[in-house]
Amino acid sequence: MDNESEMKDPVLPLGRPTVGSAPGPGTTGDWRTSKPIFFEEQCTKCYQCWLYCPEGTIRVDAKGEYPYIDYVYCKGCGVCVHVCPQDALKMEKE
């Protein structure tokens, strides 16, 4: 290809990976009507809640740590409460 016909990279409409990408403020925790509450003393760290949370708002920093909930984005679906085999999560009205 000669220099003249060489084209510059076209500007592509690329988006970027974003936490809180939902339209508006993106804080999907605002959608909640009930929230899951975590009771550490019941928890066996089986991570079923992490495995099934559709949103990725059950956070586990490293294996062996307790899970915790990111309430800024947790949508309050109740999945984690439903799958927890130990009753270490309970739903509470907000």
Binding site: P54, Y73, G78
Partner: protein
């Protein structure tokens, strides 16, 4: 061998929180689990809920390179990506991530061509059994008797067997998985990711919004679909079908839970007559009989 949870915890996060999916979305569980099992995925997504929960420019929910494309082009675009990357000597996993509408109905020509050419593509279909993002119209995957906006008195036709249609293409790998068993899904995705050629994984992905079910029981519905024999779990390699460990025992109809336990938890089946339920049971057994012949 099922994967250890430690391995899954260590994988990068592919679906970022705070996205546009409904609470309790089965597609989200499917995506998080399956895509995280892959090395350097590039994901092609046609119109479907997966392109909606992706959100609006300039924000993207997915933490992997993603290309949005028209229905009729998903596997064609993926063919191009896969070939170009190969030519450049870059090792990636080229993925098509489509809904059942984009796999069973619209877009059949594109994947059928790519499967025939045995393109190096891993194709996932998350199956919620209807067109969810456009307001719950029926698809070829909708089971008989389910009400949708275009089948208000229940669908009159049988659910299409997409895996058997795919099997007729003699592709190297076909599997079914359910979000009720994420470790099984992860294991199959990882296995398929390490293979070459056209690979297809059908994922049972409940949709609380369209099914009119409690968002909290999405995983339970994923399990019940398997335990009632509604959604058999298996792999097809070189034309031979193997039922997965999780689903093996449901080959025997006596071991299955009553189908009603699955149907009763979903609004879309509320208006079904007893006759329709019997017809649906016959459809399901027909599919099992066809699969058993491929064992």
């Amino acid at each position: 061998m099922s994967v250890k949870i430690k391995e899954m915890l260590d994988r990068p996060e592919v679906l970022l929180r705070g996205n546009f999916a409904c609470a309790g979305c089965g597609l989200s569980i499917a995506y998080r689990t399956a895509i995280s099992a892959l090395e350097r995925p590039i994901v092609v997504i046609p119109a479907c809920c997966a392109s909606v929960i992706q959100s609006l420019h300039p924000h993207v929910t997915y933490n992997v390179p993603t290309l949005n494309i028209a229905f009729a082009a998903h596997a064609s675009a993926a063919s191009g990506i896969s070939r170009a990357k190969k030519r450049r000597g870059e090792k990636v996993t080229t993925v098509v991530w489509s809904g059942d509408g984009g796999t069973y109905d619209i877009g059949v020509a594109t994947w059928s061509g790519a499967a025939e050419r045995n393109e190096d593509i891993l194709h996932f279909c998350y199956d919620n059994g209807f067109y969810s993002n456009t307001g719950a119209q029926r698809s070829g995957a909708t089971p008989r008797g389910a009400s949708t906006t275009t089948t208000p008195t229940g669908k009159q036709e049988k659910r299409k067997s997409i895996t058997r249609i795919m099997a007729a293409h003699d592709v190297p790998y076909i599997a079914t998985a359910s979000i009720g068993y994420p470790r099984d899904l992860y294991t199959k995705a990882k296995k398929a990711g390490n293979m070459e050629g056209y690979r297809f994984i059908l994922i049972d992905a409940p949709c609380p919004t369209g099914w009119n079910s409690d968002p909290a029981i999405t995983p339970e519905l994923g399990k019940l679909s398997v335990q009632t024999g509604y959604f058999p779990l298996y792999e097809v390699e070189n034309g031979k079908l193997t039922f997965s460990k999780r689903g093996m025992k449901y080959r025997d109809p006596d071991k299955r839970l009553p189908l009603e336990e699955y149907l009763d938890r979903q609004g879309r089946f509320k208006k079904m007559t007893l006759v329709q339920i019997e017809e649906l049971k016959k459809d399901l057994q027909f599919e099992w009989d066809m699969l058993l012949r491929m064992e």
